[in-house]
């Protein structure tokens, strides 16, 4: 009979102790989970290696340098069918960013106006806005994207384009808009706009400082707006209007001049903006409602006017509630933009899909998708944490 092992306290070692003692049980449990995960990973890896070998596929990212041999009609940087897969992915990524940025701007505008209008004392307006919000929120966004796309591509052919003031044309290939042509001197106008923005920021700082010290109010908002708009406008006219418009002209088969926005981009943008806008409006509404009525009553008692109350008392407090869910809505919009694949807008997922079927590099392409979306979402949550910390300092 062997002597039972002793532990450090000199007690007899008992296997049952491993599961009844809380600390050792924790370690055993974690080891078990680790083992299970390792087994799953080993199972998957061995299968993957075997399957890839059978299919005769090389893994690795070398394929990114291969020629793409497919065209992309919606692109922000130079791209031809002779470019590489890597460049095609960059084009797709930029398209994702483009539609997300446009969508975020529009969704914010829609969401804030709808949120405020829904609280309006005007019975009719608040009902109409409620109907919009409830309907859009409860219909799948993919259905809305496809609906807008079907509607836009059912527009008249190029020959019978609908004309909007003879400057823009609407047809089943999208909307054709006049393109701005920058002539020499335009860089000064843009420079003036930048100077105007900087000056407005400095003016705002100065005005706040002066108000803190003397209590005198300076209308920095109007003055800043004047600087931002007025300064470039003056330079523009002084330099003899260095901006021309390349207005599209109707030719036999297509338009000449101007630039075209595809129905895919418009449909995706419209659907994402109205869908996310409905969610944002709910966030804005609950944010405004979360500011207690006493705050605005106190502001009135101090003699603030109603727009001042809104601007200086209600909105800063409501923003604290609004911003965190708002950023996650932005993230949702960006993720939903991947539904582009259903209507053929060439975003990251759609171009990645094309590459995936051409090159067979499934794992790598899916890895790139996940890496891009994950880093976007990690960036967003990092921003959210930073913002939450910053407003927490203001709170008492």
């Amino acid at each position: 009979m062997s002597t039972p092992a002793l532990n450090d306290k000199g007690e007899q070692f008992d296997v049952r102790r491993l599961l009844t003692d809380e600390r050792s049980r924790g370690i055993v449990l974690q080891l078990a989970v680790l083992l299970a995960v390792a087994l799953v990973i080993a199972f998957i890896t061995s299968n993957t290696l075997a399957n890839l070998q059978r299919a005769g596929l090389a893994s690795g990212f070398g394929f990114l340098d291969d020629t793409a041999f497919f065209d992309i009609n919606q692109k922000l940087i130079d791209y031809t069918s002779q470019s590489t897969f890597g460049r095609a992915l960059v084009v797709g990524f930029l398209n994702t960013i483009l539609v997300s940025a446009l969508g975020i701007i529009a969704a914010t505008l829609i969401g804030f106006s709808a949120g405020v209008l829904r609280l309006s004392p005007n019975w009719l307006i608040s009902r109409v806005v409620t109907a919009y919000v409830e309907f859009t929120r409860n219909v799948p966004v993919l259905l809305q994207i496809i609906f807008w796309w079907a509607t836009l591509t059912a527009l008249p052919k190029v020959r019978d384009s609908l004309s909007l003031g003879d400057a823009a044309f609407l047809n089943n290939r999208g909307i054709r808009l006049p393109a701005p042509i920058f002539e020499p001197g335009m860089e000064w106008v843009i420079g003036a706009a930048v100077v105007g923005i900087v000056a407005a920021v400095i003016l705002g700082r100065w005005a706040r400082k002066r108000q803190d010290q003397t209590g005198q109010i300076f209308p920095s908002g109007w003055a800043g707006l004047g600087l931002i708009i007025g300064l470039p406008l003056i330079v523009y006219f002084l330099l003899g209007q260095p901006l021309e418009w390349d207005v599209p002209v109707r030719k036999r088969f297509n338009f000449q001049g101007g630039f075209n926005i595809t129905p895919e981009l418009i449909a995706l943008w419209l659907a994402l903006a109205t869908y996310t806008g409905a969610f944002i409006s709910e966030i804005v509404r609950s944010g405004i409602l979360s500011v207690s009525r006493g705050q605005s009553e106190a502001a009135f008692a101090l003699g603030l006017r109603s727009n001042q109350t809104m601007r200086m008392i209600v909105i800063p407090q409501a923003l604290r509630v609004i911003i965190p869910p708002l950023t996650s809505q932005y993230l949702n919009l960006t993720k939903n933009s991947s539904l582009a694949v259903a209507i053929g807008y060439q975003d990251l997922v759609s171009i990645g899909g094309t590459i995936l079927f051409q090159s067979g590099q499934t794992l790598e392409v899916v890895g790139i998708w996940m890496a891009v979306y994950l880093s976007l979402s990690l960036l967003t949550s990092a921003y959210m944490n930073w913002y939450n910390k910053r407003i927490a300092l203001v709170e008492r």
Partner: protein, 368 residues
Amino acid sequence: MYEPFHRTTDDMLRERPAPAATVGVIGWLRTNLFAGWINTALTLVTLYILWLAIPSFIGWAFIDAQLAGNDRFACTGDGACWAWLDQRINQFLYGFYPSEETWRVNIAFVLLFPALAPWLMENVPGDRYLRWFSVAYPVIATILLVGGFGLEVVQTDKFGGFMLNLTVGLAGIVLSLPIGIVLALGRQSRLPLIRWFSIIFIEAVRGVPLITLLFVSNIILPIFLPPDMALDSVIRVIVMVTAFASAYMAEVIRGGLQAIPKGQYEAAQAMGLNYSKAMRLIILPQALKISIPGIVNTFIGLFKDTTLVIVIGLFDILGIANAMVSNPDWLGLSTETYVVVALFFFSVCFSMSRYSIRLERRLDTDKR
């Protein structure tokens, strides 16, 4: 002595009615529609838009509409063409499910309500037995839909239409509930390894779009598994949707766990309950109860997201609609088709969200 001057009457003065402009219809109109010129302008513009939109929509959808016919050429008027509804409704509901077997889908659908009732309503008669029934329901529904046990076997590639949306959505929610509970507990665990695995899984899944996960189900799962373990496409979708939903479910349940006062945890410990008993008997029953509205909301989101299966080639209700719109017999009916599908989703999701709001209010008063 100082006598103040009094004006005296024998009768009490009757109160006068409020000014006519502040009461009744006129008063309501003035305060709710025409308060100030901005409001008046907004009201008039809105009324004008509604005046343009509503009569033309009603004319299109009802008055000028064509109800019957075998294809789009039967529709000659300016209005909507509803002829396809009569012809295709079965495809929209059941996909390619054999038409002599659709009664099984109907029974599974009807049985869904008694299965859900004990969890979503209070004071359901006989709810102790119904709870056992709901536990058995997934098995019953699977047998009904797939077949076996004397029923004719229906391959899952025949699943489609609304039935596919409902199957994928419900399977995703039901399967993700236990996984979500484990992940939520794991995320709060004191054991670092378990906590980190849970956090990585939850954040990784929540960080990527569902569509990429569906692509994974279609092209990566076959690579990950040995060739003889091929899953059919509906099961693959359910696997990925479950993974997706459980990450969201974990966050909903974490919210419920965090809402339970600390005293409950401490009281459970003071009673000498160990971790699993404390969780099973004290914490989870309370946390799950307050999570029900969140779970319903997750289901609404998931149900809307089941339309994404069209990108990997399944024919859910939206896929059937797409197929019909591009069918030569019904070409050009996209507005009618998509409006019907949208109204359909709206009525299902809207009523569920109303219900979850009501539930939330009721649970809120319970707590106080």
